[in-house]
Structures are given as structure tokens and as C-alpha cells.
Amino acid sequence: MADALISPAVGTTMCVVSAGLIAYSCKKVRETADDRKVPLMGVLGAFIFAAQMINFSIPATGSSGHLGGGMILSILLGPYAAFLVMASVLVVQALFFGDGGLLALGCNIFNLGFFPCFIVYLLIYKKVVGDEPTKGKIISGSLIAAIVGLQLGALGVVLETLFSGISELPFSTFVLLMQPIHLAIGVVEGVVTAAVVIFVWNARPEILNAAAHSKQIGQMSITKVLLGLLIAVVIVGGALSWLASTNPDGLEWAMFKTAGVEEMEMDHGVHKTLSAFQEKTAFLPDYNFKQGESQPEAEPDTEPAWPAVDPGTSVSGIAGGGLTLFVILLIGFFLRRRKAV
């Protein structure tokens, strides 16, 4: 998921949801009062990071695979701590490598953290493997869990992109594109996860036993988490999309709101002044290339049904854009010169 593909409403909703999950997980980790876990979490995060640098070659495909994070962390740390570690891996990737972006971080944490750590680990892996792990149970559990986890994550990406409306891809095409790719990735990740878990189980079984028996989660809480999440999404998402529909431009609305304009004063006073000011300053208010979504899809390459664009406008647009860029580059150049002197 990337900043460029999401709308502020979707980005903010997902950031709020993910922040809530982080706060909830922190509370849970703190409740277990196991401060031994905090350094362990940090080091395991670094392990995921380092392990992703080592690839293996998949026979007969010419491609390579590496370890995914969420599942193995959940198995070793339990869902709450694992979710926090996944979130921090994604924070570092967003900040240092620009993977995703800051606004999309909420989406990414949800897709790659929430699904594997909470849904898939608790509802699939734990159920399949149970209290007495065997080799077969570990393999089937990891495989199914990884596949389902990646399918959910991919679906998350599709839905978030769809709700944002920046990409033109229709839902069905996007789903057909994303799901099979992630099926393949899921199989690879499942196999790797299973193999690593079995490796640890053979070498040091006490690690897995300790992780499985540290009773920090009741099965009850997953419903609570899901319910809380649903409520949060409905409230935040609903509020934001309502804003988006009643105020086509959410940001402007937010700006008026923060400028202290309440509905009661709409008819007089500040609002009038503000909108008059806006009209004055924007003599091309809300300049758009295209009007609304409601227009029927025109046949490709026909004459535009929509009033032909005045050639003068496009020339002045290009000239203005060029000039703006030139001025900005000039400013940058001078700042750099001044530093060098």
C-alpha cells in the first residue's frame, strides 16, 4: 500500500484503527508484566529484518522467497507482542526505505499485522496445532494460516485502494490480479514458516512450549478485539465518508472547523468573511479536469461529450506549472548556494 493510492479518509481511518490496536496490545503486554519480553520483542523485530535479507531460490521458477514476519512472531511471542513487533518493522520500513508511506502506515499495519497476528494465528494456527504440537500439525497449521493470512492481506489492499478511488482498476480485475499472486506467496511463506518452526522445535523444544503455555490470552478477547475494531471502523469511517459526501472537500471542511466556524454562525460573521475571502483569493475555484463520477462512461476515443477544453486554458496551465516549478527550483538553488558559501 502506498500514500499515492489512498485518500485521506481511508488513510486516517486505518491509522486510527491501527493506533487503537497498538494501544490495546500495549495494554495487554503491560498487563502480563513481563518486561523480559520488551527487549525480546525488539531483538526479534531485528531478526525479521535481517532474515529478510537472506533468500532461497525456489526450484524451477527462477524466483526467490524469504521469511515473512507475522506468523513466526505470533508463534514465538503471542499475538499482542507480535502485532507490536510487526508494526515497528513496518514503521522502520516506511521511514527508512519509503516502503508504503506515513499515511498508508495504518493500512499496512492492519494488512500485515492484524490479519496474521490476530485473525489467522488465533483462529487457525492455534486451533490446528493445539496444545500438543506434532510435525504434521505444525506444517498444516502454518501452511493454511499463511495462505489465509496473505489472502486477507491482499483483499485488504484491494478494498483500501477501492474505497480511496485513486486507481481506476475495477474491483474484479484487481482481485483477480492480487489474490493468485498472494496465493503463491502464501504457499511459500507457509512452507518457510513451518520449516523454521520445526527447526526450532527440534533444536530447542522448550522455546515453543514456553511460548505456547504463557497464558496471556484468553480465547474470549478476540471477539472483544473484533467488536471494538468494527465499532471503530464504522464510527471513524462513517463520519469521514459522511464528511466527504456532504463536503466534497474534506480538508477545506476541516480547515473551517478548526478556524472555529460552527454551524450556528454559518449565515453571518466569520463564515461569510471566510468564504468571501476564499472567493476573492481563488478566482479559479475548485479547478477540475473532470466533473463528477456520474457522467456516463464515454466510448473510448470518441469526441469528448464534455465541453471542449479551451486551448487557451491548457496552454496557460502548462506555462503556469512550468513557471512555478522554475521558481521553486530557483529557491532551492539559492538555499544551497548560501550554504556552500
Binding site: V43, A46, A50, F97, D249, S314, L323, I331, L335
Partner: protein
């Protein structure tokens, strides 16, 4: 490794580096929200926003080429999703001379511009601030402490474990006549041992820190406080972003040019 270079940039000393990390974090978020809030056919109105990354890069003495290379490195996903726009949306909505441009190409270009702007803002934030200071800002803005503490641990041990992974990879390569591909069995064995070593290391770290009085907090000597110049930095950019958001400046400039000539 790559992360190290970002940290070196963050440790230089310009007036921008000295600003309160909270001010920089909030300004970055405002910038990103302003950029992504435009509708999908916006190109022109996005151009003025380039002033933010360009001014920060110039005044902060950051290497332009390096940052651009980093952005290019992660661009495939945005390009991959965006490239379908020209295929799906072929309605011609714009003319330059006699060449018609479809809405899809315009929205594709808009995605690329957004991508460039938002990513450069995020990378600039870390290059001007450094990771520890960003974490400090997060704590002060209300992020729960266990999360931030393990984030700091995580960051510290990335370097150690990446070195470890590189050593193991080199050992494998030397024992297999420099072959570049790793088979599955070897791969699992390397990863498994890396994991066991990491677990042991975590245990040692914990014991060492406990015996030095670790109580679940990481304390920083450098305190942060908001001063007037931090507020001015935030407010100045915020006003500029709002101005750019509400006025299509390139359009107005272009009209003025057309009137003059």
C-alpha cells in the same frame, strides 16, 4: 548498510536538524494529508508542493541523488497499480494543441506526483531528525511506552543482526563455491540458527540490562521542548499548504502570463 547512511545525515547540524522532532513530524503529516487530498485528476495544483521537499533538502544539505534513488527503488508498486488507469479510463478530457490526453494518463501522472511528494517527505523527515528523536516525539505525542521502547530496541539491534546475517551469508557462499542460489534446506538452517542466536542474544541483553537497573524505560539525555521557532516552522508551512490547497497557483500564474503576452 543503507540505514546507517540515513543516520549519518540525521547527525549533521543545520537549523532544520535542530528543530523539535514533533514540529517536523506534524508538518510532514500535514504535508502528506494536503497532497493526497486532491482529486485524482490533479496535476497542476500539486506542483507548488514541491517547494517543501526542495527547500528542506537544500537548507538541510541532504543529497538529492541519493534520496531520488531510494524513491525509484520502491516505485514499482505505485507504477504497477497506476498503469492500469490509462487502460481503463480512455476518455479524452484534455487537449494540448491537437493531441488529446485521456483522463487515465492524467490520473496516472497524478499518482506518480503524489508518490514522489509523499515519499520524499517521509525520507526527509528521518534524514533531518534521526530515528531516536522521532521515537521521542512519538512518546511525547502519546504513543504507549512499551511500543516505543521495543521500537528503540529494534532499531538498535537491526545493525547487529544484519551484520550477523551477512556473516552467515558469506560463510554459506564461501562453502558453496560462491554459488548465489541457496537451496531450501540450507536456507532454513541459516534462518533457524539466526533465530536461535537472536533469542539467546535477547536473553543476554535482558540480563545485562536488568543488572544495570533497567525498569522498562529508556531514558534520553537530550530533552525536547517546543520553542517559538518550532511553532513558526509548523505554522509557516501549514499556512503555505492551506494556501496551495485552496488556490491553484500555477493556473493563476499561467493566466497572468497569458494576459501579459
Amino acid at each position: 548498510m543503507d540505514i546507517r547512511y540515513m543516520d549519518i545525515m540525521a547527525s549533521s547540524d543545520t537549523s532544520l536538524h535542530g528543530l523539535d522532532p514533533r514540529a517536523k513530524l506534524i508538518t510532514t503529516l500535514l504535508f502528506i494529508v494536503a497532497v493526497v487530498s486532491f482529486d485524482r485528476y490533479t496535476i497542476l495544483a500539486l506542483i507548488p508542493f514541491f517547494i517543501y521537499p526542495i527547500v528542506l533538502i537544500s537548507a538541510g544539505g541532504l543529497p538529492v541523488g541519493y534520496l531520488l534513488k531510494k524513491i525509484l527503488w520502491v516505485s514499482p508498486f505505485a507504477v504497477l497499480v497506476g498503469i492500469f488507469n490509462p487502460i481503463m479510463d480512455r476518455e479524452i478530457i484534455y487537449h494540448i494543441g491537437s493531441i488529446g490526453i485521456s483522463g487515465g494518463w492524467i490520473s496516472f501522472f497524478s499518482i506518480l506526483l503524489r508518490f514522489l511528494l509523499t515519499l520524499s517527505a517521509a525520507l526527509i523527515l528521518i534524514a533531518l531528525t534521526g530515528f531516536n528523536a522521532v521515537c521521542q516525539a512519538l512518546t511525547r505525542l502519546g504513543m504507549p511506552r512499551p511500543f516505543v521502547v521495543q521500537l528503540l530496541f529494534f532499531y538498535r539491534y537491526i545493525f547487529v543482526l544484519v551484520d550477523e546475517a551477512e556473516r552467515m551469508e558469506m560463510a554459506r557462499s564461501l562453502r558453496s563455491f560462491n554459488s548465489r542460489s541457496t537451496n531450501f534446506r540450507t536456507f532454513i538452517s541459516i534462518i533457524g540458527h539466526l533465530l536461535l542466536r537472536s533469542l539467546d542474544r535477547a536473553e543476554r541483553i535482558y540480563l545485562a540490562m536488568r543488572s544495570r537497573g533497567f525498569d522498562g524505560n529508556i531514558r534520553m539525555i537530550k530533552t525536547i521542548n517546543l520553542r517559538w521557532k518550532d511553532l513558526a516552522f509548523m505554522a509557516g508551512w501549514a499556512i503555505l499548504f492551506i494556501g496551495f490547497r485552496m488556490n491553484n497557483i500555477p493556473m493563476r500564474l499561467g493566466d497572468i502570463i497569458m494576459e501579459v503576452f
